[in-house]
Symmetry: none
Subunit: 224 residues, 2 copies
DNA sequence: ATTACTAGTAGACGAGTAA
DNA sequence: TTTACTCGTCTACTAGTAA
């Protein structure tokens, strides 16, 4: 009977991998390993023998310790374990917080938000009729990096339309919050926006509702 | 002696979590659980008893099986494990922003930060000598959730020591920033901290440097 | 079918020791 | 110091049984 891989053996294998055993040989003794896995040196030694016998580690035993490497087979075992933990925690809700300062826009937002086709779509997808006017926020350095994560989230498509011989472009919208107010980050599909500025629609005049003015710090939460 | 969490118990806890035990109660019997963890129903039953006794799971035992939920404490244990696997395989850049309000601490931070052994370790690992005094922040709801991700990051170990017949405990520290100032989130290893409060060390008196007072909003950036 | 006892046993543990 | 053996103990397993 070939002995099964016990949970303790796996724990020992993981410990070696954390020490860097997947990238190259790590030096350890039964004593030090026993301390980290919470056992006697004898037991640690027996674990290493078992792991070697089952082909999960390679090692060279010296009089003063041993050099241990996790084999490809051992790495595969660990990867299976890792993937199980990813199933527990991996696809949890994404939550990104952007922090920036309030700035003045060009007043274009007010115009676009007054157009019925846009208003209708925001009402349908965000659950509120947008206040005619948008909030422009200049992001801090860390938030610019954070913003890139938003690309992976599910944006709402706001369709363009034609009216009075003019074409109004499409946009993408991401639901978010400022304080208790539901908002939406709006990004035109065609024109290129600066990466440090976001534009938001909201059901109310946020400058009044939150009592904020230019250069004030604003925190935007994206929960998905 | 309270029985330690064995590798087998952890394996059982993980199995429950994979079945969805972190999100809600999962229905299982000792038989089915025993099959998946490769043991007899009796052993599976004993595992569940042990996990319940140590507060890692909640359960309601019925005549036809049991409903099992992983507790917050159990989830924390799993997250630590997950973070070790992330250290082996994952290498993605994590960036977390916590937002909360400044509150007054108990003044203990000032005392601890004045102790030379702690000062030395912070200087060595964070690159600055901590200001004698800590900043306490009460996190918002979204940030409490975000905080759990921090478990996956690499914390610095601050070793405890003994002086004047008193034992000073170990702590974990995570480098972060508030504005342009480098800081560190400090969590004692032993004593249990409220999940909505974080304590930070910094090279300067942040209340003065940032001009902030109690109840002001503070944004903490963790880049790793 | 379940859970969770008790009982008997197999095997894993750490101390001691040799190389 | 190391590794890895032997050996005695005691833990932890499974089978059987009751509820």
């Amino acid at each position: 009977m070939v002995r099964m891989l016990t949970a303790e053996d796996l724990q020992c294998l993981k410990t070696i991998a954390v020490m860097g055993g997947c990238r190259g040989p790590v030096f350890a003794s039964s004593q030090t390993l026993g301390t980290t896995i919470g056992s006697s040196p004898q037991t640690a030694s027996r674990r290493l023998q078992a792991l070697e016998r089952t082909g999960l580690i390679d090692r060279s035993v010296n009089p003063d310790g041993q050099h241990i490497t996790v084999t490809a087979q051992g790495e595969e075992v660990l990867r299976r374990e890792y993937s199980e933990y990813c199933r527990i925690f991996g696809r949890e809700e994404t939550s990104v917080t952007l922090v920036g300062t309030l700035i003045s826009g060009l007043g274009e937002g007010r115009y676009y938000m007054s157009l019925e086709p846009y208003k209708q779509q925001f009402l349908e997808h965000l659950g509120f009729e947008p206040f005619p006017g948008t909030l422009n926020i200049r992001l801090g350095q860390a938030s610019i990096r954070q913003r890139k994560k938003l690309e992976q989230l599910e944006w709402i498509e706001i369709k363009g339309f034609t009216a009075d011989d003019r074409t109004f472009g499409s946009a993408r919208c991401l639901p978010c919050r400022i304080g208790k107010w539901p908002c939406g980050i709006v990004v035109p599909v065609r024109s290129h926006y600066p990466e440090d500025i976001i534009e938001l629609v909201s059901p109310v005049a946020l400058r009044d509702a939150l009592g904020i003015k230019d250069m004030d710090t604003v925190t935007v939460e994206i929960l998905q």
